[in-house]
Structures are given as structure tokens and as C-alpha cells.
């Protein structure tokens, strides 16, 4: 079998379901799971044993399955994502997630920003039209896996919100405060929930 381009620690190639060891001697790590007394692989890759952390109670080694072809980034609760707003409605906005933790994604994920997650203060007085417009690029944090259709995102922090946007006249919007951006062609001010960029 040809070795993959990813680096791996020499272990054997394993496939999902293959028995890696006994749960009395091994802890299931990344890419593995415990079933009764056995530890089995859940993905295709190479087996790697990680020695136990010194001073921890559990003296069993951890077995991991590494080196499988990366599936691309998957949003997890707490990760920072960059998304493009696709639809703005009265109580929520939909967005297409484009990057997760500065890694571009390979499959399409949809996120949803609810009215109460737009900002931290006065959440019942949020006007979605003055926070986002379709086409805006926003930085948000993933709150949870959400429902079958979309992840729940939040921009309720200073550094989260609209990062880049186009004005009605077609020019680029430049942030001037956390609620306003100005068009560089016409000077018109538009309202957005702006991210504070350091």
C-alpha cells in the first residue's frame, strides 16, 4: 500500500472497525472508539500509540489513528469562522461558512445568526437590516452544531462582526465605529455590526 503524503508514526494501516487493542491496556484517542472491552478504529489511517502523561492517574497509553486524508476543516463549537451573509430576515440572518480557524473549508456549511446573537447589549432591539446585508463578510464564533440545516453562529463580541462589505454605490465600506461604516466613493454612512480589527 502506498504511504500517504501526511506524516505518520510508522504504525500499521488500519481501517474503520479494526481492532486496535484491549480497553484494559489502551485508551481510545483521536480516530478510535471503545466498544465494550475492545478499542477499535473509526477512520482509515495509521495507528499510533501515545504514552500516558506523567503523573496522571490513568497509566494506560492512548492509541490514535492519524494520517488519514484530511476531510478539511469542520466547524466545532468555539471555533472562529469567516462567513458570507446570504439572506437577512426579520429575526435571523443566514450565512455560508467559508473558513474555519483560518483554514478554508472543502464542503459547504451553512450558519445562522439569530437576532439575540448579533450583539451583547440590548438584544431585543436589534434591527437585522442595520446589522448585516447580503454579501457582507463576517467573523463569527460557532455557538453550537445547531439543527440539521445550519450551525448557530454568534457575533456578540467586540472583535466579531462585519469585516468587509460593499456599499450600495459599489464602493468598499470603511469602518468608523462599531455600528457604522462609510463608503469610500460617495461618503455615505451605512449601519452594520462592525468587528473591531486590531
Amino acid at each position: 500500500m502506498a504511504a500517504t503524503a501526511m506524516d505518520h508514526d510508522g504504525g500499521d494501516m488500519v481501517t474503520p472497525g479494526e481492532l486496535l487493542g484491549n480497553s484494559l491496556t489502551l485508551v481510545a484517542g483521536r480516530g478510535a472508539y471503545t466498544e465494550g472491552r475492545s478499542v477499535r478504529a473509526s477512520v482509515t489511517g495509521h495507528r499510533r500509540i501515545v504514552p500516558p502523561a506523567p503523573g496522571s492517574d490513568d497509566q494506560r497509553s492512548t492509541v490514535e489513528v492519524v494520517g488519514h486524508k484530511a476531510h478539511g476543516a469542520v466547524p466545532q463549537p468555539g471555533s472562529i469562522v469567516i462567513a458570507r451573509i446570504t439572506k437577512v430576515m426579520a429575526r435571523m440572518a443566514s450565512a455560508d461558512i467559508m473558513c474555519v480557524d483560518s483554514k478554508a473549508i472543502k464542503e459547504k456549511f451553512t450558519g445562522m445568526i439569530r437576532q439575540q446573537d448579533v450583539r451583547a447589549t440590548e438584544i431585543d432591539k436589534v434591527d437585522m437590516y442595520q446589522s448585516y446585508r447580503p454579501g457582507d463578510i463576517v467573523r463569527a464564533v460557532v455557538l453550537s452544531l445547531g439543527d440539521a440545516r445550519a450551525y448557530y453562529l454568534s457575533t456578540a463580541k467586540n472583535e466579531l462582526g462585519v469585516v468587509s462589505a460593499q456599499s450600495i454605490a459599489g464602493g468598499t465600506l470603511v469602518p468608523i465605529s462599531w455600528t457604522e461604516m462609510q463608503c469610500d466613493l460617495t461618503g455615505q454612512i451605512e449601519q452594520r455590526k462592525v468587528a473591531k480589527v486590531e
Binding site: V88, M89, A90, Y129, A169, Q188
Partner: protein
Amino acid sequence: MESRRPPPSPLVDSYVVPGDVVLDLSEMTNQTIKLGTGLRQECDTIQATSAGMLRLSKPNKYWVESSQKRYIPSVEDTVLGIVVDTKPDNFVVDIKGPNLAFLPVLAFEGGTRRNIPKFEIGTLIYARVVKANSIMNPELSCMDVTGKAAEFGELKGGYVFDSSTGMSRMLLSSPTCPVLEALGKKLSFEIAVGLNGRVWVNAPAADTVILVSNAIMRSESLSGIKQRAMVENLLERLS
């Protein structure tokens, strides 16, 4: 505030077409100009984006008045809508605009979860536009600003027909437009005009409704005198 007034645009009260430069801003400094519908700022000039008559409301509000069959929702317009669907929180109402409008089930005087009105599909509603912008569905309300029902709500019976938006504004203008004045002298009827290009007429007798509707439909391009003459003509045929 500048003590010197900005010179009004030379095109005020004349017809403009899209692309006409209405104002050149490079000569003005520190002025505030308010733009209504049909105008857009292009770097240093204000240009018209729709065809119609340019109007100025002193001191500094400009807009283009045009008449179309299609309605673009704007806030505080009173419109006639037809219910097309009911959802748990809203009625979905067609107001002849690019999007369907939502009428919250609680947006009625004294509205609570227990006394939600039962509107069937096809009900005609007179309502007020509360929220309207280019990206979201407009939101309506059957209450006025103070929370009273005013005359909003369901309109029963009568006859509905379409008009252009300019015609609706003419029917609602004050002093009363000539055709309505002439009709009102001889006939008794009730009428509701939606700024979205819909008119509702109701009267006890069917031939009154037909006469009033026909008179209104024919009066769009007629001057005041011609409107009165046309109404006289129609009334003679009736009696």
C-alpha cells in the same frame, strides 16, 4: 448651518429621465440635501434613477414622482393587501410588491394570542407598512402609530380593481380630486385607496359600484374639467 440657501436644481417641476444630473455637489459645501425616491448620489453629482417629475420640498428635500403599475414598498404607506397564506406568527399578504409582506397576527388593536383574527385566503386587508427595505419582506400593521385600529383591518364586500401608483396618489390628494368630488355629489359610496395601486369601492347598489369604478378607471389621463364632464356623462346614462 449655512445661512446661504443652496440654489434649487434647475430641473425642479420638470420631467427627468434616468441619468439626468439633478444637482452638482462640487459647488456646494456644508449643505444637507435629503434625497427621496428616484435619486442617487454618484460621487459628486445627484442623478435621477427613475423617470418622472422632479419635486422639491423646501428647503432641501428632492424626489422624483413617477407612476407605475408595480409598487415598491416604503414605510408609512397605507396599502390594500390580499391574504395569500397564514403562518403561526404572521399572515402572508400580497401587496403588489417584489416580495410578499408579513402581517403579524398580534398587530391589531387589543390583539392577544387568544383573539387572533381568522382571515381566510383571499381576504382584503387595509394596512400600514411598518418596515420596508430592499432585502427583507415588508412588515405591515393594522394599527396606527398610537395603537388604535383607525380604519385598518378587513374590508368586506365591495369591488377591488388595480390602478397605477400615480392614480392612487391623485385619488388621495387634498383638495379632493375632481372625479371623486363629482361622483360624491350625486352618489353615496365608500372607497378605500391603497398606495400600492389597488382601489376598493363599495355601495348598496351594484350599478353604483360599477359606475364609480369605471369613472375612476377612466379618469387617470383626464384633466379636472374633463373628469367632471365624463362623470356627468355617466350619471346621465344611469338616470
